[in-house]
Structure formats: C-alpha cells, structure tokens
C-alpha cells in the first residue's frame, strides 16, 4: 500500500470535496452484466494505470486477485482468528524429519481453468521454481527439494526446522500450473498475461484502466462463487474518494479522511466499513540510547501517554488502543498469559514521576522522528509530546520524508519513533519481528525488524522454542512468555492497532466479514483472504 501517496491525495481530495453534498450518478457501475447477478466493483490498491502482470510471485506490479482468486494456496490461515486454518488445495499436512520435511495430501478432483488436472507435480514444480529462482522466494523459505510422491501427495524438504513457516509455505505460496510455467525460461520476469489457475475466477478482460475477472465455471467448490463478474477499475487515491462518494465502488480498502461524510452518507446499514487490527503501531525507543535503555524511563513514558486521546483525535477513532502486550484483541487471548488478559492502559502521571525520580532531568530530552506524510502519526507525535512534557520529558517532534524515515529508523539513527509492526497469522510473527535479537543490527546498519534493538536471552529462547515445535499449545505457551516480556519490560510501547481498511456496500451482495463474524481479513488488498470473502458473498435479497 502506498501510504504516503494516499495521505497526500486524500488531503487533495478532501479539499476538492469540502463543502459539496448530495450523491451523484454512479458512472463506473458498468454495463457488463452476466446472468442476473450484478458485477462487483473492487478497488484494492491505488493505481493510475495497471500493468499487465499476473505473476503471483511479483511483489508490487502484480494485479490484485492474482493470488487467491486465480492462483490458490494449499491452506487458508485466518489472521483474525489465530490458529483457525482451513484446508484449501491441500486436505492435510504431516511434518517429519524434525520439522525439516512436510507432506501434503492434495484435494482430489481439482482442475486448472484450462481443463488439465491439478496434481502433486504442480505443487512440486512451484516450490522447485522458488528454490531455483531466489528472486521469487519472497517468503525466504529454505527449500532443499520438492518431490511428488503420488498424484495427490507431495513432500517438501527444508534446510532448517520450519514448523513456524507453515503459513509461509501453505498459506502464502500460490500454486502455479507446471504445464504452463515450465515453458517459461525466466519465471522472475514472466508476466503471466493469460493466467491459468485453480481459483474461483479467471481473467476475462485487461486494459490499462480496467481488468475484469469472471467466474471459473469448473471451480472445485460447487455452486460458487455467486458473484459472476469482478471489475477492477484503476483509481488513484484522490479519484477513489470521489468514486466512493458517488457510489461507484462496492468494495474498497482505503483511508478515507472523513468517512461519515464521504462514504457512509447517513446510510450506515448499506455503506459499511470494518477496520480490524492488522499488526500494532508502537512508540519505538532506541535502546542503544543509554537513557532509553533504562526500563523505568520506558515504563514512565508508557504511563504518561494518553492512548485513548491519540486514538480519538489523531486516528479519528478508526482503530482501537492496543492491548499492553501488543497482541491483537479480540482473537489473540490464547497468546496472552491469563493474568494479563484483561490488562489495559491507564494514565498515571504521579506514578510516572515517581519512576523518574532517580533519573537526571537534564538527560530526559529526545527527538521523536515521524514520517511527515503520515499525518495521523504526526498528530499522535504532538499528543505524545504534550503528555511526556507533564512528567518532565522534553520531546522534540521532527517530521521527515517517508524515505528518510525508513532509512533512519532502519539504521537506528533516532531516539524515539513511531512504526507499525509486520503481522502474521498468529501473534508470534509480530513478536518475532518486534523483539528477535537476531534482527537487531548494530547502529548504522539497516535492520529489517527489531528497530529498537532489543537484546534479551530469554526473548530469543522463547522465539526459538516456538519455532521448534508444531504443537499449538507449546507455541501458545512460548508466545505467552513473549507477551509477559512486553508487559513487564516494555521493550517497545504499543500505542494502537494498525487498521486494515475495508469499505463494503451491502446493496448488491451480503455476507461480508464483520466484527461478529471475522472469518477473513475484510480488505480487498489482503490475499488470499479477499477470495475467501468473495466465496461467501450472496446476492442481496436472496
């Protein structure tokens, strides 16, 4: 997601929209109607034009829908209900060789959209390709080999214990057809313009401004999908605000500056939105700074910050205050020790001052680095500055260009910063990326996680323990240990959850994910979740 662009553009759009009212004729609705059910208009990612790229292993140029709707994965992992795993192209999996090998039994009767049967050869081919072309291996799997044992059985071998990578292997590696892809000399630059997949949709039309997917009639889930046509028009961030206002888009994943006015327009039953947590935004203390390395300083800061106000004012109430462990709630209960499950932040200025009484006040001066295009974080930084001033900590907030911020935080060249953490199918992924000592690089070298540079033997032991077992209870126990460290040692200070943006209209189709039924991530830009959502949709009024 191109966040800075969307923010700037949203401001432009808000300017353009300020003061105007009333609906408008939905222009982009479309003429292509097949059968009785109308097409669904989807906006996944801001784009002025599309490139003809349907290679599911490309990172950004690839068009949304390629993984999930066209190319499917072996299993589906629901990030909103950690531990909920649905068999997809594979019916089950078995680990062997101490987690270095996994054998999948494949679903019978699945066909590629060109009529060829889907077999273990296709799965083996896909993983062999990732091994041979490391550029495509975006999940960083240590693949040693992949072998089809029978038409419905495939074994994958890895160079290291890979229990913790099941999601990356089975949940985020779309399977491609051997009979099409083996003809390509270089799959890393192959754009797959005529994709052949096992998924519920096939590509029917492509132009630089619009592509269309239609129902795959031979899809393996009988009677599905019920949405016959998907249309993906190219909208830039500011064009999308107008489109949402005029009702041209049925399903979008976008930041909308004033959602009640621009999108809901007084019809909360039809124009719905759902922003579940996807990772957590934390206040990063640079632990190589000797003052910030003192746990009492971090604890005092945490006590002084009024997170409710930050969420209400800076985040427009679009998200929620994080659980003090950073684990997304509800959903992550099993990953938090029982004694902390009901923990919540409470501002206590007196206690914070008490904690700081042995620290030289002259040392309590920090710079808070934020990317200036993220206006919400800039506002949050101002509120943090005011809160910390109350306990005698002087904070100077400094907004810098997005690129500059990425580089400085990566290299550890900051005192305090705000950053979102990568999320995964269970809270472990988030904990590992926040706390794993192996990711902490010396100052001056770009890190890819653990930007605060937390080093703790117990933390690393727990992370290794999770990765060394496939037993869910053991894994939960290890993550609980990590949660405890978050609570008691505050290596980084959770603020609020990063929202996953999703706006959907119920006038054409119903059955969307909601807080009551979080069966998949609701944003159209999350793969393969978006395909899971489409398979649940039913025409409105049926």
């Amino acid at each position: 997601m191109s966040r800075p662009a969307s923010r700037i553009a949203a401001v432009l759009a808000a300017l353009a929209l300020a003061g105007c009212s009333g609906g408008g004729a939905g222009g982009g609705g479309g003429s292509a109607r097949s059968g009785g059910a109308p097409p669904l208009v989807i906006h996944a990612v801001d784009a002025g034009t599309f490139q003809e790229d349907f290679n599911p292993y490309h990172l950004e140029g690839v068009n949304f829908g390629t993984s999930g709707m066209i190319h499917e994965t072996l299993m589906y992992f629901n990030k909103l209900k950690p531990g909920e795993i649905t068999p997809w192209l594979a019916l089950d999996h078995k680990w062997s060789n101490e987690g270095r090998s996994v054998t999948f039994t494949l679903r019978p009767g699945v066909k590629w959209s060109d009529g060829q049967p889907f077999t273990a050869d296709d799965v083996a081919f896909t993983f062999q390709m990732l091994k041979k072309h490391p550029q495509l291996n975006r999940n960083a799997l240590e693949i040693e080999g992949a072998e089809a044992l029978a038409p419905d059985k495939v074994r994958l071998d890895f160079g290291a214990t890979s229990y913790a990578k099941l999601f990356n292997i089975a949940g985020s590696s779309p399977i491609v057809p051997k009979h099409v892809w083996e003809k390509e000399k270089d799959p890393s630059t192959f754009t797959n313009p005529k994709p052949v997949g096992t998924g519920p949709y096939t590509l029917s039309k492509f132009s630089a401004q619009l592509y269309e997917l239609v129902k795959n009639p031979s899809y393996w889930q009988p009677g599905k999908p019920e949405v016959p046509v998907l249309r993906f028009p190219a909208y830039t961030a500011n064009a999308l605000q107008t489109a949402l206002r005029q009702g041209e888009v049925d399903w979008a994943g976008a930041f909308v500056p004033d959602i009640q006015k621009i999108y809901v327009q007084g019809k909360p039953e039809q124009n719905k939105f759902y922003f579940p947590p996807e990772g957590v935004v934390t206040l990063l203390p640079n632990l190589t700074n000797p003052v910030l390395a003192k746990p009492e300083v971090r604890a005092a800061m945490s006590l002084a910050i009024d997170r409710d106000k930050i969420v209400r004012v800076a985040e427009r109430g679009y998200t929620k205050v994080a659980h003090p462990t950073g684990v997304p709630m509800p959903g992550g209960e099993a990953y938090v020790p029982p004694e902390y499950r009901d923990a919540a932040y409470k501002v206590d200025v007196e206690k914070a001052k008490e904690l700081l009484k042995d620290v030289d006040p002259a040392q309590l001066k920090f710079t808070l680095l934020v990317p200036s295009p993220f206006t919400d974080w800039v506002n949050a930084a101002q509120l943090i500055r005011e809160d910390l001033a109350k306990i005698g900590i002087t904070v100077e907030t400094r907004g810098v260009a997005f690129q500059d911020w990425v580089s400085k935080v990566g290299k550890g060249d900051y005192d305090l910063s705000i950053r979102a953490t990568a999320s995964g199918p269970t809270p472990y992924f988030q904990m590992r990326s926040m706390l794993f000592g192996g990711l902490a690089k010396p100052v001056g070298e770009a890190a890819t996680g653990n930007y605060e540079r937390w080093k703790d033997a117990e933390t690393d032991r727990l992370i290794d323990a999770y990765a060394a077992t496939e037993d869910e209870t053991e894994q939960q126990k290890a993550t609980q240990g990590l949660s405890k460290i978050m609570m008691e040692k505050a290596p980084t200070l959770p603020l609020f959850y990063s929202p996953s943006w999703a706006q959907y209209r119920t006038d054409k189709y119903v059955g969307w994910p909601s807080e009551q039924d979080p069966y998949a991530m609701p944003s159209p830009y999350t793969s393969p979740d978006a395909a899971v959502v489409l398979l649940r949709l039913k025409p409105a009024g049926s």
């Binding site: 997601m1 191109s2 966040r3 800075p4 553009a9 432009l12 300017l15 353009a16 929209l17 105007c20 408008g24 004729a25 222009g27 982009g28 479309g30 003429s31 292509a32 002025g48 034009t49 490139q51 790229d53 490309h58 990172l59 950004e60 140029g61 490391p134 550029q135 291996n137 975006r138 999940n139 960083a140 990356n168 890393s188 630059t189 192959f190 754009t191 132009s207 630089a208 401004q209 619009l210 909208y235 830039t236 500011n238 064009a239 107008t242 996807e278 990772g279 997005f402 690129q403 500059d404 990425v406 580089s407 990566g410 953490t421 990568a422 999320s423 990711l439 770009a446 890819t448 990063s498």
Partner: protein, 326 residues
C-alpha cells in the same frame, strides 16, 4: 554553419552533464528502494527475502563509479533497465505507454495557449488604451496562480458540483482503447478539463510577454513609416510589428515545448491522468532509480532538442544571427 557546429558541440556537452546528473540525483535520496518496499508492504513480504529482491531488481552493491560506467554502457545500447515500481516492465515500456498521453494533452494545450495568448497579446497592444486593457489585471492574476489551484477549482466547479466533465483518468472505464470513434470521443471528453487548466494557467504569460514586446515595437520608426505609407492597419499590425515582436516569444515557446514532455505533474496528479508526470511521481515515491533516470533522460533530451530547434528557427527568422560568423 560554424554557428550551428558550435551550438551542436554545446548541446552534446549539456547532454552529457544532464545524463550524469540524472544518475547522481536519484542516488542522493536517503534510503533504498527495497527497504521502502518492505516498509510499505508491512507483513506481506519476509524481510529475509530482501537480498533476493535486490537481485531481482538489479540493484548492485558495486562502486558508484562502476555503476556509472554500467549506466553509460546500457544507455549507449538504448537500455533503460526494468522499473522497480512496475517490475518486471521495462522502463522504456512505461515511458512509451505514458508519453503519448502527456504529449497529447500538454502539447495540444500548450499550442492552443500559445496561439490564443500571442494573438490576444498582439491585439491588446494594438488597441492599448481601450477597454481591452481591462484584461490585464486578470492576466496578471492568472499568471500568479499555480496550475494545481486552477485544476482544483475546475474540478470542484465543473467536475464535482456541476458534473459536466469527468474529473479523473484519460478515457471512460467501459471504453476499450482502439481506433474507434467512441474511444476518441471519450479521450477528448476526458482531456477537456485538464487542457482548460493548462491553457488558462499558461496563457497569461504569453499575453503579457507578447503585449509588452509589441508595445515597444510599435514605437519603432519602421512601424511609423509603414503607417505613413498608408498600409492597412491589419498589415502593419501583423506583418510589421508582430513579426518582429514575436522573436522572444518563439524562444519561450520552444522552451515550453521541451517542458511538455516533463508534463504538468500537478495537473496530471489532480486529474489522475496516466501521463509521464504521474509516472515520475510514482518513481520518486518508490525510489525507483531506473524509472526516474529514464524519465529525467527523456525530459532533458526533449528540452535540449527544443532549444536546438529554437536556435534553428532564429537562424531562419533573424538575419542578424547569421551574420555573426563574419
């Protein structure tokens, strides 16, 4: 001829300087494209795969000098590399896809604004002291107003409030590109508002420039002479005064033709127009070195070529430049 040869040498030197700056400037930005990608795609890509991605994007750790030589070598072969933002699309393809939109929109708009602006300037100078002078404060105002402000105002009035014109993209969503009347109509309809923006915002320059030079020229002896001979005022105005007054305007026109290729970045962004300005913005946001280099190269070459053409036009139009060699 020696004049032309000297100009040509000068242009070659400038081209080399521009190419070198194109290489240097993107690299002065902090951070690197893969780090940005990981920061943007939070969670969807394993940071451990960063090295693999660097390789895929062709980002090398070679010394800057080595990279510079490789860059020059590739340029000599006409290779611009693959874009990172639109990987694996070649930069040349990205440019080839977006350039026609920009040249079409900004080029035509610039031409219109030049023709209308210059003629208005001539007429206003001729009829100075009449009610036409009332246009001047308006022109000065438009001269001071930035492009995007005009664009936002037009979007607000004609796009959002009145809904007369579409406010984004280059053609209708349901129109398939092709040589059809429907496509052509859709393109024209969508180009109207952005074109008006550019014409309105850039015309003032032309009016003011042309009028000022024209007023001076009208005081020249040969104009008085022409009037004294009893030539029609139409002939005096166009063939005697305007023809001489237009020289500085030719230069500015040639320069603006060069900048046509650079597009009106802000206008394109406001209207989500798929031109080269939008692509440049994408490239800068993503630190897409190959794309930025490619676009800068095309822009700088276009400016140089336009300048060269202006020089040629001068040689034809103004005999004094030809005498310089003797």
């Amino acid at each position: 001829m020696r004049f032309l040869a000297r100009r040509l040498g000068f242009y070659l030197l400038t081209a080399w300087a521009a190419i070198t700056l194109n290489f240097l400037i993107p690299r002065l930005m902090p951070g690197d494209p893969v780090e940005l990608l990981v920061a943007r795609m939070k969670g969807n890509v394993d940071p451990a795969a960063i090295d693999a991605m660097r390789r895929a994007f062709g980002i090398s750790d070679a010394s800057p000098w080595r990279q510079y030589l490789d860059y020059l070598g590739n340029l000599a072969h006409g290779e611009l590399g693959r874009s990172i933002t639109f990987f694996p699309t070649e930069v040349s393809t990205v440019i080839a896809d977006s350039l026609p939109w920009t040249v079409g929109l900004v080029g035509v708009a610039t031409l219109i604004s030049y023709l209308i602006g210059t003629s208005l300037g001539v007429i206003m100078a001729w009829k100075r002291g009449t009610w036409l002078d009332g246009v001047l404060p308006g022109a000065t105002f438009m001269h001071a107003v930035p492009y995007f402000w005009v664009a936002l105002a037009l979007v607000f009035v004609f796009g959002v409030t009145l809904q007369w014109f579409p406010v984004s993209r280059a053609y209708g969503l349901d129109v398939m590109p092709g040589l059809t009347g429907e496509f052509a109509r859709s393109v024209l309809y969508h180009a109207t508002l952005p074109a008006i923006t550019i014409v309105l915002a850039s015309m003032a320059d032309r009016i003011l420039g042309m009028r000022n030079v024209m007023v001076t020229t009208l005081g020249e002896d040969y104009v008085v002479m022409a009037e004294a001979k009893g030539l029609t005022s139409r002939r005096v105005m166009w063939a005697y005064a305007a023809r001489n007054a237009i020289l500085p305007n030719i230069t500015s026109f040639a320069l603006s033709l060069g900048f046509v290729v650079g597009g009106s970045v802000l206008t394109e962004i406001v209207f989500s127009y798929p031109g080269i300005g939008s692509m440049l913005l994408k490239g800068v946001e993503n630190e897409d070195f190959p794309l930025m280099q490619g676009i800068f190269l095309v822009i700088s070459l276009a400016v140089l070529v336009a300048n060269f053409l202006a020089d040629l036009a001068y040689v034809v139009l103004d005999p004094r430049t030809r005498q310089e060699t003797e």
